[in-house]
């Protein structure tokens, strides 16, 4: 019995060395040699300073920017140090309240746009860090952003198209617009 316990402890020690030390270090070594940018967090670097991560969304409320999806992280939205979803059930009154307020905010920022609001633009993402919105949610905001910046709608649409990521390998996932890249491109126009 005690022999078996000794074996258990030694075996755990050895397998820890293999799977808990050698394995992650080997993966880190190879990853940083072959995919250094991805391994570090897909950072957008300007003048040797990290500006943002292209995979992590940010909050936007200015009419000149495209707005991201709502985020349920606390204490502030898009807190990439503490990811979280809202976990609100479909019948929770807090969900209906939040969605009503978001629809109103979008309509107030763009009076006259009575089109139904694409669902992803008024519902919180799973991670609270979703960098994307659907192409429908981008199109919904094109007129507002164009007006706020005094730009032609087609010019803005062209930028949306540049920030759009298609289905991978032609069929995987959903088409989507990277809001952070889109807003950086808009700000660069000046």
């Amino acid at each position: 019995m005690l022999t078996e316990l000794r074996r258990a402890l030694l075996m755990l020690l050895l397998l820890t060395a293999v799977t808990g030390i050698a394995y992650p270090l080997a993966v880190t070594g190879i990853a940083n040699a072959v995919f250094p940018d991805q391994a570090a967090g897909s950072l957008i670097v300007q003048h040797e300073k990290a500006l943002a991560s292209s995979l992590i969304g940010q909050p936007f409320a200015d009419t000149k920017h495209f707005w991201s999806r709502p985020s349920a992280t606390s204490p502030h939205p898009y807190n990439a140090g503490s990811s979280a979803g809202s976990n609100l059930g479909p019948l929770n009154p807090a969900l209906a309240e939040a969605v009503t307020a978001r629809v109103k905010a979008l309509r107030d920022a763009d009076p006259g746009n009575a089109a139904p609001v694409p669902v992803d633009l008024v519902t919180a993402s799973a991670s609270g860090l979703d960098p994307h919105i659907s192409p429908a949610a981008a199109e919904y905001q094109v007129a507002r952003v164009a007006r706020a910046r005094g730009l032609d709608g087609q010019r803005v649409r062209a930028l949306v198209a540049q920030a759009t990521e298609e289905r991978q390998l032609g069929f995987l996932g959903e088409p989507r617009v990277n809001v952070l890249r889109l807003n950086l491109a808009l700000d660069d126009l000046r």
Binding site: M11, L15, T28, V34, A50, H76, G89, V117, A126, N183
Partner: protein, 602 residues
């Protein structure tokens, strides 16, 4: 759902089934010690491990010895995980200086990872140091999975052998499963994930300026770091402005790869595989989803090969696939239908070329409805429990699918090893019922199924049921149990039922709204996980021992063939009837009521 959605679902099932044969063949070679490339390269290292541990690899064990070895090893693992969490502040590789984990939470996590459940009461990036993630959690991801596979292989030997006293050597099965099956696949998957943008670094968290600073209500804290509350119990807040974003990173890819392959499911980050650093693209999502069911599906073929009749393995795989596809269709269509309360608020939930539509609360844009619902079904069919969307925000019927899949006992694919040994036990129950109907002694794979085997099978089937229903009842009765609920009404009950369904079947996914990181839930769920793991392993090994000793009876006229469509549907029937009779009353109080209210049916 559009044509592309169907294409993704079909592609997933086809690729999964296509890989079952080659991988299943490879695993059979590894466990039977036939030459394959990796076990030849690794042989000197493998021998070194045995020498250091004082193990004679050729020496076989009786089922009792095999069980003792499994238990000692799991106990050592549990204690190591507990100790590493409690001591992490004093240990290296903790750049954020994260504090020692509280004792109740550390116990829960230790039980959770040693039982291959990987329920997460904690938020990874705000709780666990890099060292804890590596030495405690990643290691258990490997070895708890390898232990589950070892027990399965022992049970298969019980069928394959006759008149034998022994069922293999646990240490050898554990080592080979880890070194030659889990490790190489994890390395390949981890690197593929990094190529897609999954982080793998030891640097501290990044700080970047926000393009637009954001104003928010910051909760005020008292001197002890507890949130201040006013007279009405509402938190006291002050206005604050956030100008920068702290971006958590870490050695994530290496852990995520084995988390998916070993049906573990414990994420590096709090929101698991919905985090853009844990699952950044649709391709990473496809690979991670494939990894969930890959080994459980392939083990069916391994089983067929090792018992000398591959049709037996494919019959079981067929039963699993049929249930999986049927429930997948229910989950996808419920989520795609959207939330009727939002439809009244001027929200467009219809699927189109430019949006996935549907119930998008708690889902990521890049995955949309199809990939979220597919993941939810796969992760609960297997006892994986990782998520790429928040099940708590699913529609009632959409969420009932994952909940029920867990309640079926995690036998539709199930955990690596544990899923198939659970399903084999259900097959034993099935031939027993069939035997009663035609009045003959039941046989499975040439072994007579007698009173002892049926007793063991009954324990395996009944323990998770008792854990889930008993635990839920206890939590609902206690103030501490009700205090954790986040959503009002029937959904709140579903949160508790889901938690115990998850722990009682070693799944690990959650309705994450439930505040489970509190002493009551940490303790209760921890106990349930330990019970549900080891009280299923022990009778399974006893079964293996009893079967190995039996002579094989020749196939006769009265033998029920167990590789035919008739048997496949009979097996499905038994699994579904046990699962329905046990859980329909509880489900009626949760998701069913919620669905009726949501659609205004009175």
């Amino acid at each position: 759902m559009n044509a592309n959605g169907y294409l993704q679902l079909v592609a997933y099932v086809v690729v999964l089934l296509a890989l079952a044969k080659p991988l299943g063949t490879y695993m059979a070679r590894i466990y039977e010690d036939e030459p394959a490339l990796l076990n030849r390269i690794g042989a000197p290292f493998e021998r070194l491990i045995y020498r250091v541990c004082g193990i004679a690899p050729a020496e076989e064990m009786r089922w009792t010895q095999y069980a003792m070895a499994t238990l000692w090893f799991s106990l050592a693992g549990t204690l190591a995980v507990y100790a590493l969490q409690r001591l992490q502040l004093a240990l290296p590789l903790n750049p954020q200086a994260l504090a020692a984990v509280r004792p109740d939470s550390a116990f829960n996590t230790a039980a959770s990872f040693a039982t291959n459940t990987n329920w997460q009461g904690y938020g990874g990036e705000s709780t666990m140091s890099y060292l804890t993630q590596m030495l405690a959690l990643t290691v258990q991801n490997f070895v708890s999975a390898a232990a589950g596979m070892a027990v399965l292989i022992a049970l298969i030997r019980g069928f394959a052998r006759q008149g034998a006293q022994t069922i293999g050597n646990f240490w050898v099965d554990l080592t080979r499963g880890t070194l030659y099956i889990l490790l190489p696949h994890s390395i390949v998957l981890a690197l593929a994930l990094v190529s897609q943008g999954v982080v793998q670094t030891y640097s501290a968290y990044h700080r970047v300026p926000l393009i637009e600073s954001v104003e928010y209500d910051k909760p005020k804290m008292d001197a002890d770091g507890q949130p201040l509350k006013d007279d009405k119990g509402a938190p006291v807040t002050e206005k604050a402005t956030q100008k920068e974003q702290v971006i958590a990173v870490g050695p994530a890819a290496s852990q995520i790869a084995i988390k998916q392959l070993g049906t573990n499911g414990g994420g590096f980050f709090n929101v698991n595989s919905s985090h853009p650093f844990e699952n950044p693209t649709p391709l990473s999502n496809f690979l991670e989803m494939l990894a969930i069911l890959l080994i459980p599906a392939a083990l069916c073929h391994t089983f067929g090969l090792m018992v000398g009749d591959i049709r037996q393995g494919w019959a079981i795989l067929a039963a699993m696939t049929i249930v999986f596809v049927a429930l997948l269709a229910v989950c996808v269509s419920a989520e795609q239908a959207g939330n009727p309360t939002l439809a009244k608020l001027g929200v467009d939930q219809a699927a189109s070329a430019t949006q996935s539509g549907g119930n998008m609360e708690g889902k990521e844009t890049r995955f949309g409805i199809v990939n979220s619902a597919l993941w939810a079904t796969a992760t609960t069919a297997a006892s994986n429990g990782s998520v790429n969307s928040m099940h708590d925000s699913y529609t009632p019927i959409g969420a009932m699918v994952p909940m029920w899949l867990m309640q079926l006992g995690e036998v539709i694919f199930g955990g690596v090893g544990s899923g198939l040994y659970g399903m084999i036990v259900f097959a034993i129950v099935t031939v027993f019922i069939a035997g009663l109907m035609i009045g003959r002694t039941p046989e499975y794979l040439g072994k007579k199924i007698e009173a002892f085997e049926i007793k063991m099978a009954a324990i395996v089937v009944l323990i998770p049921l008792a854990m889930v229903l008993g635990g839920t009842a206890l939590a609902v009765m206690l103030e501490a149990g009700r205090a954790g609920v986040a959503n009002p009404g029937a959904h709140g009950f579903s949160e508790i039922l889901y938690a115990f369904s998850s722990a009682g079947n070693n799944n690990g996914s959650a309705y994450a709204g439930l505040s489970a990181n509190a002493p009551f839930y940490n303790t209760a769920l921890g106990m349930v996980m330990l019970f549900a793991r080891f009280w299923l392993m022990l009778p399974t090994l006893a079964l293996a021992g009893a079967l190995a000793a039996k002579k094989r009876v020749p196939v006769g006229l009265g033998t029920l063939p167990t590789h035919t469509p008739l048997f496949v549907f009979f097996l499905i029937g038994v699994v579904l009837i046990v699962g329905s009779l046990t859980f329909i009353p509880a489900l009626a109080l949760g998701p069913v009521i919620e669905h009726l209210v949501l659609y205004g049916i009175k």
